[in-house]
Symmetry: C2
Subunit: 269 residues, 2 copies
Amino acid sequence: MATGRTHRPATRSRGIPEATVARLPLYLRALTALSERSVPTVSSEELAAAAGVNSAKLRKDFSYLGSYGTRGVGYDVEYLVYQISRELGLTQDWPVVIVGIGNLGAALAGYGGFASRGFRVAALIDADPAMTGRPVAGIPVQHSDDLEKIISEDGVSIGVIATPAGVAQQVCDRLVAAGVTSILNFAPTVLSVPDGVDVRKVDLSIELQILAFHEQRKAGEEAEAEAEAAAGAGVVAASAPGAGAAVTPGRKGTDRKGPDGDVPAVMPA
Amino acid sequence: MATGRTHRPATRSRGIPEATVARLPLYLRALTALSERSVPTVSSEELAAAAGVNSAKLRKDFSYLGSYGTRGVGYDVEYLVYQISRELGLTQDWPVVIVGIGNLGAALAGYGGFASRGFRVAALIDADPAMTGRPVAGIPVQHSDDLEKIISEDGVSIGVIATPAGVAQQVCDRLVAAGVTSILNFAPTVLSVPDGVDVRKVDLSIELQILAFHEQRKAGEEAEAEAEAAAGAGVVAASAPGAGAAVTPGRKGTDRKGPDGDVPAVMPA
DNA sequence: AGGTGTGAAACTCTTCACAGCA
DNA sequence: TGCTGTGAAGAGTTTCACACCT
């Protein structure tokens, strides 16, 4: 099935932007905290601060869900918690399987954040026979031979892959064949899946590399700022390749700059 | 500040788009794999496939780094590996501390992807005295009392927070005060940091919630398709969310108080 | 007043399509 | 000929600013 059903014709009323969807869990968490403190209503300004975004963005995001606020007052916390939960599909139960119970898989199995939302760890699966039957986070590990059976019996549609990269694709293929249509991939590899299957990936090393890029730039900016102050202007256009010699600006750490203050006009975050 | 204050002068030379930076690690991984197989050159088409993006995007991305390809041929693998590594700052050594050695922290400590790039786990830090001295992934855990000393002695500028949410902000504050300027946060909480400090967050439960949203929509689409086939007539502007059925308060539904009662969303933080 | 909801402007990112070089 | 590099068009996202409701 899935014949070219890729289009986006439908009444665009249901078209919540992806960027907004990605922030809903953030709002939900902040709202939940407010709810626990029995705060009845909250303004976009306050909620935005708690969620770490700006208020205009938050209001725009909520406007895609409907008009759930009251002018001059704010948003009803409980009501909004309910609406967002529903929108995200958290009012229903989502059985999840975790495949690959190594360090990471075990950590995921014990992660409270899963259970606390609508997610339920339906099974832990590992290919190592020595693991079979051993309880991890209170759940007995099952052997991967039974993967298909587990998926279909529990009606699992979300799978988490925490295996080594080398076997991730084949695990993925089996999950998909068994009926899983959403995959959270922790293996550092690109998974290919048929249309209609969603994959999200979390890659620890990639996150660190992005940080390193910015970290390096900070160091470079300091130097640049100095150079600029000393010389006049003129930014070197695109570093010249060839020179493999150019030792990277060593140094790091030390020299903490107290107040951020300056921030040169050379490209902020 | 309300009034426009256009940053970014002209120069654009050093302005690599954030979206591009986020993909560089992906390209680097694919290139590294090619390099290991001693593949000398690769076309944008091939590399894009290996990295899971489309070729136009890849070429555009590389164009921000400079002209490193050869028309009619492709890109030199080794050269590109070097250029991207340099751009990301991976040609230098980045000592990293991991704070919070629970399940997740231990998994991170043992994660091969760190060491394989320029990252070196300089220290593991935990607040539990019972952990102190115990080796995890071959590295002895140190007590958090020594956090400041460790950071400054090793010149650490990148910190990973894998503590419970409740203490993440205070750990963050100490890291920043000690000189850390980039933080990778696994705790499900919003960290506030001074200007000049970068924070990236990885939130497992958020990723799952996003998947759930799409998963739910798939179910809804099936129902919708059926309904469409059956009826196929006047579309009510509103639009039914989720699984069609259900009592969906049409948009700004009149009474906001109605559904308040059943708020099923449980979950504490 | 106080604060939401939202057009419109500004900005960023992606995709197209093709000139131009090896 | 084959493939890169890139201007330009298009799509998506963020920010502004203010009308409008309570």
